[in-house]
C-alpha cells in the first residue's frame, strides 16, 4: 500500500504600478496623466493563480504459489483537483487502474 498527496499553489501579489509623474519634460505626452493613464491592473495578479491537489494511491497484494511463481493484483488511483482553472480550463480528473498477473523467477 502506498499513498502520496501533493499540494501546489502559485500566485502573484498585486502589482505596484504607479502612473507616471507629469514633469515639464513629459507634460506634452501626458498632459493629464490621471485621465490619460486610465488603466486598471488591480485584478491582473489573480488571473494566473494555480491550485492543484494530487492524490496517488496504490493497493496491491502478492500471493506466492511456490518458490518461483506468484500471483499479483493491484489498484492504482490517480486523482487531480484543479481548484484554480487557468487558460487550459478545468484539468480535474482521475484515473483508476486495475492490474493483475503472475511472476516467475528462474
Amino acid at each position: 500500500m502506498e499513498g502520496v498527496y501533493t499540494g501546489a499553489e502559485g500566485r502573484f501579489d498585486p502589482f505596484d504600478l504607479p502612473t507616471p509623474n507629469v514633469t515639464d519634460e513629459t507634460a506634452h505626452i501626458y498632459p493629464d496623466a490621471d485621465s490619460t493613464a486610465d488603466y486598471d491592473f488591480s485584478m491582473i495578479n489573480n488571473y494566473s493563480d494555480l491550485d492543484y491537489s494530487t492524490w496517488e494511491a496504490t493497493f496491491g497484494t502478492n500471493y506466492q504459489l511456490d518458490s518461483s511463481a506468484g500471483l499479483y493484483g493491484a489498484i492504482n488511483v490517480l486523482d487531480l483537483a484543479d481548484d484554480q482553472p487557468y487558460v487550459y480550463g478545468d484539468l480535474s480528473g482521475s484515473l483508476v487502474t486495475y492490474s493483475a498477473g503472475m511472476t516467475m523467477k528462474f
Binding site: I29, Y72, G93
Partner: protein, 592 residues
C-alpha cells in the same frame, strides 16, 4: 511502430539466444524474473494532466503487461537483458554484453507518451476604444501529445598494446512525434490570435566515435560527433488577412505598415540542421608536481533552410596541486569564441505607395547577440580543517566581449528633409558592442555531525560591469519641438510613429548579486531523519538609466522521513519559492 515491433522481436530472440546458446557453455548461469499480466484503466473527467504520461489511446482497454529482467554469465562473458511492455507506447529494452576479450557492447530503447495541455484562448478577447483582440480556435476538441522514443547502441574495444587504450563508437536516435498546438498572431486591423493543430515528426541522430589511451605520464582522447536534426512533420500554412486601418477600415492603406497582408505562408517551421564537433583532451600527471589538463573543442553548425553557419572554438587549460593532505588548489583557464553568420532582414518598404512621405527603406543586417569572445579564469582552494570540517573558496573572473548585445532600429534624421523625399538621411541600425566583466566569489563550509548528519553553508557574491542589456529597450523620446509635423496633423505627422528613438535601458541581469544558502541533514532517531535547505538571493542592476532593477529570491524547504516499522514508511516535504522583482513599463500605443 514498425521499429518498435522489430525491437520487441529482437529482444525476445536475444533473450532466447542468451538463455539457450550461452547456457550451453560450461559454468554458465542464467537468472531472472518474468512478470506477465494485464491492466485496465478507468478514466473520469479530464485525464490529460493527471495522466500526463499515460497513453490515452489505451485507456478503457485491457492492455497486456510484460516485464523481464535477465542476467547471465559464462566463464568469459557477462550479459543482462531488461524488457518492459506497459502499453502500446510505454516500452523499454536494455541489453549489455561484457567480455574479457576486449569488447563491451550495449543497446537500449525507451519510449513513452507525454500529454500536452490545450490553451483554450478564452482570455484572448477584449476591446478598448477602437482596438480589439479576439481569437479563433480551429481545433477546439484537439488532444495534443508527443510520443518520445530513444534508441542507443554502442561498442567499446580495448586496444591491447596501449595502456587504457580504447576505441569506441555510439549511435543515438531520438524521435519525437505527435501533435502540438501552434498559435499565430494576425494584426491586420485588430489583434487576432488563431490556434491550429500541428503535426510533429522530428528526429535527431547522433554518431560518436573516439579513441583514448595513456602513454607514460600523458593521457589523451579524441572524440568526433556528428549530429543531424530533421523535421518531417509537414508544414502548416495560413493566410494573413488583408491589413486594414483599425478605425477607418480597408479603404485606407495599412498593408505597407505591416510585414504580412493578404498572403499565405508557412509558420512554426523548424530548420533542418547538422552539427560536427571535434574534441581533443590531454592530461599530464607529473609526480610530486600536480595534474595538468588541456582541451580543444571545435564545432560547426549548419542550417539547411537558411544557409547560416555557426562556428565555435574553445580552449581550456587546467591544473591541480595537492599541497598536503589538507590543502588542494585548482586553477582553470577557459577561452571560447562563437560566431553565427549575420542575416540581412529584407522588409517591404514602409508606406510603399506614398511617394511623397513614405516608401521608406528599413532593411537592416542582424548581428546575433550570441556572438561573443569569452575568457574565464577560475581559482579554487580546498582547506580540510579537520576530518569532519572543510572550507572551500573560489574566485572566477570572466570577460565577455560582444560585437552586438543589441541593435538600434533603422531611422531617418529630422534634418530639414522629410524622410520620404530625396536627400533624406537614413540612419542604419547601430550595433551596441560591449564588454561584460564578471567577478564571482564563493565561500562554502561543510561539516559532518558524526554519524548523525551533515550540513553546509555558503555565500556567493557577483559583481558585473556592463551586464547584458538592451540600451534601446523602452520609452520613446518625444519629437515635440523637433518637427512641427508632430502636432500639425499633416501627412508628415506619420513620421511621428517611427522616428522617436527608444532611450531606456532594459535588463533582468544584475550588476551586483549576493546569495546565501545552506543545507543540512540530521538523524532524529534511527528510524527518522530530517533535511532542510534555505537559499536567499538579492540582486540589483544600478547601471540602467531610467530605473534600478531589483530582484529577491527566497527558497526554503524541509523534508521529514520516518519508518515506525519495517513495513511502514512516512515522508513529508514542503518547499516554498518567492520571487520579488520590479520592471519599468512604457506601454506603447498602437499606431501612435
Amino acid at each position: 511502430m514498425r521499429k518498435r515491433n522489430l525491437l520487441l522481436c529482437s529482444a525476445i530472440l536475444l533473450a532466447c539466444w542468451c538463455g539457450t546458446g550461452l547456457a550451453e557453455e560450461g559454468d554458465a548461469q542464467v537468472q531472472g524474473t518474468i512478470a506477465i499480466g494485464t491492466h485496465l484503466t478507468d478514466p473520469t473527467d479530464q485525464t490529460g494532466r493527471v495522466g500526463e504520461y499515460v497513453n490515452q489511446a489505451d485507456v478503457e482497454e485491457f492492455v497486456a503487461d510484460l516485464y523481464m529482467d535477465l542476467f547471465g554469465s559464462t566463464q568469459s562473458t557477462l550479459y543482462n537483458i531488461q524488457f518492459l511492455h506497459q502499453d502500446s507506447v510505454t516500452q523499454s529494452f536494455d541489453f549489455g554484453l561484457h567480455t574479457d576479450k576486449y569488447v563491451s557492447a550495449e543497446m537500449g530503447y525507451t519510449s513513452f507518451m507525454h500529454n500536452l495541455d490545450h490553451d483554450l484562448l478564452v482570455n484572448m478577447q477584449g476591446k478598448a476604444g477602437g482596438k480589439q483582440v479576439y481569437h479563433t480556435e480551429n481545433d477546439p476538441l484537439g488532444k495534443y501529445f508527443l510520443e518520445y522514443s530513444d534508441f542507443k547502441a554502442g561498442i567499446d574495444v580495448d586496444i591491447p598494446f596501449l595502456p587504457n587504450g580504447q576505441l569506441y563508437a555510439t549511435f543515438n536516435e531520438r524521435h519525437k512525434t505527435g501533435y502540438v498546438q501552434e498559435m499565430t498572431i494576425d494584426h491586420c486591423s485588430f489583434c487576432h490570435v488563431e490556434s491550429n493543430s500541428k503535426r510533429v515528426d522530428q528526429f535527431t541522430e547522433t554518431w560518436r566515435a573516439g579513441v583514448s589511451g595513456t602513454q607514460g605520464m600523458v593521457s589523451f582522447s579524441y572524440d568526433l560527433t556528428e549530429a543531424r536534426f530533421r523535421d518531417d512533420g509537414g508544414q502548416n500554412s495560413r493566410t494573413w488577412f488583408q491589413a486594414g486601418h483599425p478605425v477607418q477600415g480597408l479603404p485606407y492603406d495599412f498593408a505597407s505598415r505591416l510585414s504580412f497582408s493578404d498572403v499565405t505562408m508557412p509558420y512554426a517551421r523548424n530548420s533542418n540542421n547538422d552539427k560536427t564537433t571535434h574534441e581533443v583532451k590531454v592530461k599530464v600527471d607529473v609526480p610530486d608536481v600536480g595534474i595538468f589538463k588541456a582541451a580543444y573543442t571545435n564545432a560547426n553548425r549548419r542550417s539547411y533552410w537558411t544557409g547560416m553557419e555557426n562556428q565555435f572554438d574553445a580552449y581550456a587549460l587546467g591544473g591541480a596541486k595537492r599541497w598536503n593532505k589538507n590543502h588542494r588548489t585548482t586553477m582553470r583557464l577557459l577561452a571560447y569564441e562563437t560566431k553565427v553568420d549575420d542575416w540581412f532582414v529584407n522588409l517591404n518598404n514602409f508606406r510603399a505607395g506614398d511617394t511623397t512621405y513614405g516608401n521608406l527603406n528599413f532593411d537592416w543586417t542582424r548581428i546575433s547577440a550570441a556572438n561573443r569572445q569569452v575568457v574565464q579564469a577560475d581559482f579554487e582552494h580546498l582547506w580540510r580543517l579537520t576530518r569532519s570540517r572543510k572550507v572551500r573558496g573560489s574566485l572566477r573572473y570572466q570577460v565577455i566581449d560582444r560585437d552586438a548585445m543589441a541593435q538600434s532600429q533603422v531611422t531617418y534624421l529630422f534634418d530639414g528633409v522629410n524622410p520620404g523625399n530625396d536627400g533624406a538621411t537614413r540612419v542604419d541600425a547601430e550595433p551596441f558592442a560591449n564588454e561584460t566583466k564578471i567577478l564571482r566569489m564563493k565561500l562554502r563550509y561543510d561539516e559532518r555531525l558524526g554519524k548523525k548528519g551533515n550540513f553546509n553553508a555558503g555565500i556567493t557574491g557577483k559583481f558585473v560591469d556592463a551586464p547584458f542589456m538592451n540600451p534601446t529597450a523602452m520609452c520613446e523620446e518625444s519629437v515635440q519641438d523637433v518637427n512641427s509635423a508632430h502636432t500639425g496633423g499633416s501627412a508628415e505627422g506619420r513620421l511621428y510613429y517611427y522616428q522617436r528613438q527608444r532611450y531606456g535601458m532594459g535588463s533582468n541581469q544584475p550588476s551586483e548579486s549576493w546569495r546565501i544558502n545552506g543545507k543540512g541533514t540530521y538523524q532524529l532517531h534511527p528510524r527518522a531523519s530530517v533535511n532542510a535547505f534555505l537559499s536567499y538571493t538579492t540582486e540589483k542592476n544600478d547601471e540602467l538609466n531610467i530605473y534600478q532593477f531589483e530582484r529577491d529570491i527566497f527558497m526554503p524547504g524541509v523534508n521529514l522521513w520516518t519508518a515506525p516499522s519495517d513495513r511502514l514508511l512516512f515522508t513529508l516535504g514542503w518547499t516554498y519559492s518567492q520571487y520579488k522583482s520590479n520592471a519599468n513599463l512604457c506601454p506603447p500605443i498602437f499606431d501612435g
